[in-house]
């Protein structure tokens, strides 16, 4: 039960973070090149990502032994989770500039305005930019859906969680329009990073032959351990930055 909730939350959070980044590109493309091309490019990218999950998921379950899968998947989750957590800690403590979606949006709009349109029908530039944005950001989501879904034996739940995140972020995007900077992206990234490191430790450990005390109950224990450590690191680094008189990165 604990594992199921955490899997759903981790996939939802990771997908939401990646989709906020993709939405910035899609909105820039939609406002400058027209919505038809932007939405078509996004829809085709989502379809390609869904096909990847549908093709790879069952094949991996069928051909790869569970312990090997957990060892590989756990290691991948650890790498990905530690990369996210590292970035989030550096941003939260002010050593690294926060991800500014508004600035990225303005940069994309300026770039796209400079590209001339070809004909009056579908705009190829708008289509390609949206497709690439959604597909590249979505690849990380596919990795997380496959790794978390396969290791927990809940590929369906992981896929539905990712789909729900795409819908929620899309709906929020329509409501808030261009104010994507309001989304607490770094806090979300830190939360998801913590969950990925937790699952990575748990499944990587199981794949390597570790028997966690309390089985699934070890998951919240690991989450608390990493959460407290992250909080301590952010506090420590923020204090040291202020003592050294270093300005917050912007």
């Amino acid at each position: 039960m604990t594992g199921t909730v955490l899997v759903a939350l981790a996939v939802f959070g990771a997908s939401a973070v990646e989709m906020v980044e993709a939405l910035t590109i899609v909105m820039a493309s939609g406002f400058t090149r027209g919505w038809r091309s932007a939405l078509e490019g996004s829809a085709v990218a989502v379809l390609c990502l869904a096909v990847l999950v549908a093709a790879l998921g069952p094949a991996l379950i069928h051909y790869v032994p569970l312990n090997v899968l957990r060892l590989v998947v756990g290691s991948l989750l650890l790498v990905l989770g530690l990369q996210w957590l590292r970035k989030a800690v550096l941003r939260a403590s002010g050593y690294k500039a926060k991800h500014d979606e508004d600035a990225i949006y303005r940069r994309e709009v300026d770039r796209l305005k400079g590209v001339s349109r070809s004909g009056s029908g579908r705009d190829a530039t708008g289509f390609v930019i949206s497709f690439k944005g959604v597909f590249l950001e979505g690849m990380e989501v596919v990795m997380i859906v496959l790794t978390l879904g396969l290791s927990s034996g809940q590929l369906g739940l992981a896929t539905v969680s990712a789909g729900a995140a795409v819908l929620v972020v899309g709906a929020v995007g329509v409501v808030v329009a261009r104010q994507l900077s309001e989304v607490p992206e770094n806090a979300m990234k830190m939360g998801v990073g913590l969950m990925l490191v937790t699952f990575g430790t748990f499944w990587g450990g199981e794949g390597a032959g570790l028997r966690w005390p309390g089985a699934d109950l070890a998951l919240p224990g690991l989450l608390v351990l990493y959460g407290v450590t992250t909080w301590a690191l952010v506090s420590l680094l923020t204090r040291s930055r202020r003592q050294l008189g270093i300005a917050e990165a912007a």
Binding site: L82, R86, Y95, T201, G204, T229
Partner: protein, 70 residues
């Protein structure tokens, strides 16, 4: 020719995805998993304690590297 290019792009994608600008994380995770696997065969309890602590140490080391890099 086209297959070779596709393989290069595919390989670069995975390299960027796993190693990227934090090679210490990828190498550290590989070492921790290997050490965990060896330790689990001889000292199960020690492995359960050591693996999460090693992961925390890796995060700290990677943060320090990030701070030094600026």
């Amino acid at each position: 020719m086209r297959l070779g290019r596709w393989l290069r792009v595919f390989g670069r994608f995975w390299w960027e995805f796993i190693v990227g600008d934090t090679p210490e994380v990828a190498a550290g995770v590989a070492l921790i998993v290997l050490a965990g696997w060896l330790l689990a065969r001889t000292a199960q309890t020690a492995a359960v304690v050591a693996v999460p602590l090693a992961i925390i140490a890796l995060l700290v080391a990677s943060l320090l590297r990030g701070l030094r890099a600026g």
